[in-house]
């Protein structure tokens, strides 16, 4: 079982690393948006992609192309992201290649799903919110990154 795990540097990345036990005994590859994040996951294969947001379409496309290459090369069984826009790009690339996708919306989105989360909701195979009041027939709440 091989998992590609994507998160932007900062809070998204911190939240992704808190899910590590879910990938126990699996082959795990990481993607984030700063080279230096690699030091937080020693022993794992690691890729850095350009940071992007929906406000910079050029960077977003760059990010999508780089992530498409990574997803194609790695051929994971599952792609998971805790956000933000680059993670969404990774999920889209995975979807195109027929790979299953998981979106975990950041705990920061307490009142409504993030913009990326709302888009991921349309196609991701599994989408999590960390707030019970945001769960519905499609969005699952099974707890949060805090324990």
């Amino acid at each position: 079982m091989k998992v590609l795990a994507i998160a932007s540097v900062g809070g998204h990345w911190v939240q992704l690393l808190r899910l590590l036990p879910a990938f126990d005994q699996m082959e795990l590859v990481f993607v984030s948006t700063k080279e230096s994040s690699a030091t937080m996951v020693p022993g794992y294969r690691y890729y850095s992609v350009p940071d992007a947001s929906r406000w910079n379409k050029f960077r977003l496309i760059q990010s999508f192309l780089k992530l498409s290459t990574i997803v194609f090369r790695e051929r994971p069984d599952v792609v998971i992201s805790t956000g933000a826009a680059p993670g969404l790009m990774g999920l889209i690339a995975a979807k195109i290649l027929g790979i299953r996708t998981i979106w975990v919306d950041s705990m920061a989105n307490a009142e409504r799903l993030s913009m990326s989360g709302k888009l991921a909701r349309k196609f991701a195979d599994r989408i999590y919110t960390q707030w019970p009041e945001l769960a519905d027939e499609k969005v699952v709440c099974a707890g949060s990154v805090l324990s």
């Binding site: 079982m1 911190v14 036990p21 700063k34 099974a142 990154v145 324990s147």
Partner: protein, 165 residues
Amino acid sequence: MIFVTTGTQAPFNRLVRAMDEIAADLKDEEIIVQAFEVDFEPLNLKVVGFLEPAAYTELFDRARLIVSHAGMGSIVSALTTGKPIIVMPRKASLQEHRNDHQIDTARKMETLQSIPVAYEATDLKPMILKMLAEGNPKPVPATGRFASSSLIQSVRNFINKQTNK
């Protein structure tokens, strides 16, 4: 030492400016601010830009108080290490973020985790003085290193379901 952290993305000059004014009254306290695009010349504190993970952790651990924007990275780090923290949410109306989710986060964390929130810059000074005066400020309730076991199990089950297909 007070470590002020404003995240990886955008400037937050309202917080930096407030801290510079507070620093003038806290001459004996070292204050280190991690911030981008600071639009004035701070007189009383040291500003650094993006911090590598090891440097961030070093400052975070060394600080006796964290003052932060209401970002999940700082909040989760404080909860994990039991480090006292005050958060000040960014406001969309001041172009400090794309939307007001930091205010939502701050309200939730205030209610659920007893994290002190400065909703306005003017709230900061009395809160900081109070926390420092308490000597060893009360740590915020802690969390473990990982997500709740129910979330971890759910993610794991979903991944494993795929292989059996």
